[in-house]
């Protein structure tokens, strides 16, 4: 027994008396050539350290590219998040029934929808009576008015008439100062209102917000007493969502007439009930409009808030692709920088390549070495680029003001993209190194 027999546990224990010598073909399998890969990695690090200026230039090339892509992606994701959270404030348990859909894409459709019957209070009441899957219902009507108080004037105000007061919750607004009105006040048709903070700041300049409570404002030729001020909702795409005046629907009917088509809001208790509630409400409404199952058109629009999100994503998808594509061009430039520098590196290290080949490095060993060098530098550049991309996005978000989403996904994307750039741009230089003639290479200085 040779003393070596104990030192070869790899021999699967079947024949431990003999030393197992792997044939060259098996020894050259990639996972057993780990030594060469490791060597390539350390050579890469040493060479990157050796040529600091060159490494720095390469890194800058890659970092700029990755920064651009990551910043753009992060900002886009942040915007998406803002939009999604804004439009889903009513939650996925709410749908609406109205005369016209919220999004109309053609003039023909607009004319067609206008010929439909108005949605009226009785429709809402019918749904409220018969829809078992519905939890609460409410109605709302909108009108754009001018708000006035003394000499102060505020144009483009959204007058929103609602009932019952549960509509505040369905709308996703909450009170900041004062109170919502009571059902009895609403039923009595009182001239009271709850206003968004923009109304107060515009009509009551230089006055603390509490002082607006109990004060009167004028809109549509009628006087309303402020009983509550809403918490600010902020802006979306530069448009304020806080220039709103809520009044009871009963009063709106009295003062502004019932000639406007209203919107019926229906909320279910849980999201899974939504579909059933939609079916029931649709049946009730079709019945009220005398539609048989043969009629393809409902004669009204039943929609969830997904409509907005779908419109938003279809409108922005192309913009996103173009933006990301443009910023990716800087990555291509970075790749060209890497290729250039790798070519210089190969030329400078011809002698080294010759030595390695003389002692047994094969083409793919040399190829791998230079590829690893290219990928190492681009991956490091990718990591730094991701960090600075997040930084840039954070700065922009700070200036514009929207929440940021730092996702692991985009970090992985940045590093893997830069690594792919490394492979692609390192391939040609590495191939040139790999096919150098060892004699010529050894002769070079």
């Amino acid at each position: 027994m040779s003393p070596r027999s104990d030192a070869t546990p790899k021999g699967s224990g079947a024949d431990s008396g003999r030393r197992i010598v792997l044939p060259a073909r098996i020894r050259s399998l990639p996972f057993l050539r780990f030594a060469a890969l490791w060597e390539a990695f350390f050579v890469a690090l040493a060479s990157l350290r050796q040529n600091k200026l060159r490494t720095a230039l390469t890194l800058v090339g890659i970092i700029v590219g990755v920064t651009a892509v990551i910043a753009v992606v992060t900002i886009i994701k942040g915007l998406d998040q803002t939009v999604a959270s804004t439009f889903s404030s009513q939650g996925s348990t709410v749908f609406t029934i109205s005369k016209r859909p919220q999004v109309i894409t053609s003039r023909e459709d607009f004319i067609k929808f206008n010929k439909r019957k108005d949605v009226i209070r009785e429709d809402a009441e019918a749904i409220f009576r018969s829809c078992t899957a519905c939890w609460r219902t409410g109605i709302a009507a909108n009108s754009f008015e001018i708000a006035k108080r003394g000499d102060q004037k505020f144009e483009g105000v959204r007058l929103r008439a609602i009932t019952p007061s549960a509509m505040f919750e369905i709308d996703g607004v909450s009170i900041d100062l004062g109170r919502f009105w009571t059902e009895s006040e609403s039923a009595a048709g009182r001239e009271i209102c709850v206003v968004g903070p923009d109304i107060v700041t515009n009509l009551f300049p230089d006055v603390p917000m509490e002082r607006a409570l109990g004060q009167d404002i004028w809109t549509g030729g009628h006087r309303y007493t402020i009983v509550g001020v809403l918490q600010p909702l902020g802006k979306i795409f530069g448009a304020s969502r806080d220039n709103v005046i809520y009044i009871p629907y009963g009063n709106f009917e009295k003062n502004f007439g019932a000639h406007n088509s209203i919107v019926v809001f229906v909320q279910t208790q849980t999201a899974p009930q939504l579909e059933q509630a939609e079916d029931q409400a649709r049946a009730i409404m079709r019945n009220r409009r005398g539609k048989t199952f043969r009629d393809e058109d409902d004669g009204f629009a039943l929609e969830t808030q997904d409509v907005f999100l779908n419109l938003y994503s279809s409108a922005t998808a192309n913009i996103y692709v173009v933006t990301i594509g443009v910023s990716a061009i800087s990555l291509v430039v970075g790749g060209i920088v890497v290729m250039n520098i790798m070519l210089v590196s190969v030329t400078e290290r011809t002698k080294e390549i010759g030595i390695r080949k003389a002692v047994g490095a094969r083409r793919k060993d040399i190829l791998t070495q230079f590829l690893i060098e290219a990928v190492t530098v681009t991956a490091i550049g990718g990591v730094l680029g991701v960090l600075s991309g997040f930084g840039v996005a954070w700065l922009i978000a700070l200036l514009i003001g929207f929440p940021l989403l730092f996702s692991v996904w985009s970090a992985v994307l940045g590093v893997s993209m830069s690594s792919i750039v490394g492979v692609i741009s390192g391939l040609w230089p590495a191939w040139r190194a790999a096919k150098l003639d060892p004699i010529e290479a050894l002769r070079s200085e």
Binding site: A24, R33, A35, I355, V359, G360, A361, K364
Partner: protein
């Protein structure tokens, strides 16, 4: 089998085939070159660096190849070392026909069968002595711990055990050449192939290196030294002189 068929097979194989050639490592015959040509295409005309070189080297021999510059001895050395392939002819090294091999197979042969010692040492400047010696083992796929051990032993064999962590620029010329010799021997190759090994060394150091070669030869290594210096060639046991791409003289002196 009749006697006639035996006679035929012997006759044909002795001319052509490998059945008569050393196929196992224990054969005496290490190198067999048959009618080796190397032709370079220089545009319009063809230059024959070697035209029809044939010789054999037995295992454990100490051979010097000499000749003036331009004689073709560098070309011959490149062929022996498997850095290049002949345009025509056969080259059997340790039972393998090297003449027809592709780049990667040649790399494998260089890794396993040939240990190079160059005039200008050709060490990796940024790597330590130990790492330089490990280099052939890395490409041979030897795992780390064993690789270290083998490289240390090889350095100890050339009396450089205390210089393992030094880089080439921290070593004298003689020490560098000994690192190169350790690198050449670390994989236990069939031949140690030295190209003007003392060309960059002073006389005293040259003397040391040649003594080391002698010791290695006594230990059983096959050594081929390519040189144009007569006193270096005279240390070998056999001298092949090359002139104009042909063997001019092949003499055994010891």
């Amino acid at each position: 089998m009749t006697e006639a068929t035996v006679a035929i097979s012997e006759a044909s194989s002795s001319v052509l085939e490998k059945s008569e050639l050393p196929v196992n490592g224990k054969s005496d015959l290490l190198i067999s070159m048959r009618d080796l040509w190397k032709t370079y295409d220089m545009g319009a005309e063809k230059v024959h660096a070697l035209h029809g070189v044939s010789f054999e080297v037995k295992r454990g021999d100490y051979l010097a190849i000499t000749g003036p510059s331009g004689s073709g001895k560098s070309t011959l050395m490149n062929l022996i070392g498997c850095l290049d392939t002949p345009s025509q002819g056969e080259y059997w090294l340790n039972g393998k026909n090297v003449a027809e091999m592709n780049d990667d197979d040649l790399a494998r042969i260089r890794n396993q069968e040939v240990g190079f010692v160059f005039q200008t040492f050709n060490l990796l400047a940024r790597a330590t002595a130990l790492h330089n010696v490990e280099l052939p083992l890395i490409y041979g796929g030897i795992p780390g711990a064993k690789r270290h051990e083998m490289a240390k032993q090889a350095l100890a064999a050339v009396d450089l055990a205390d210089r393992m962590t030094h880089r080439p620029n921290e070593l004298s010329g003689g020490q560098r050449q000994r690192v190169a010799i350790a690198r050449a021997l670390v994989n236990h190759p069939s031949i140690l192939l030295a190209d003007e090994p003392t060309g960059a060394l002073d006389t005293a150091t040259s003397y040391d290196i040649m003594n080391l070669f002698e010791k290695l030869h006594e230990a059983g290594n096959t050594i081929i030294v390519v040189t144009h210096e007569h006193d270096i060639a005279a240390r070998a046991h056999r001298i092949i002189s090359i002139r104009d791409g042909l063997i001019e003289k092949d003499e055994r002196i010891r």
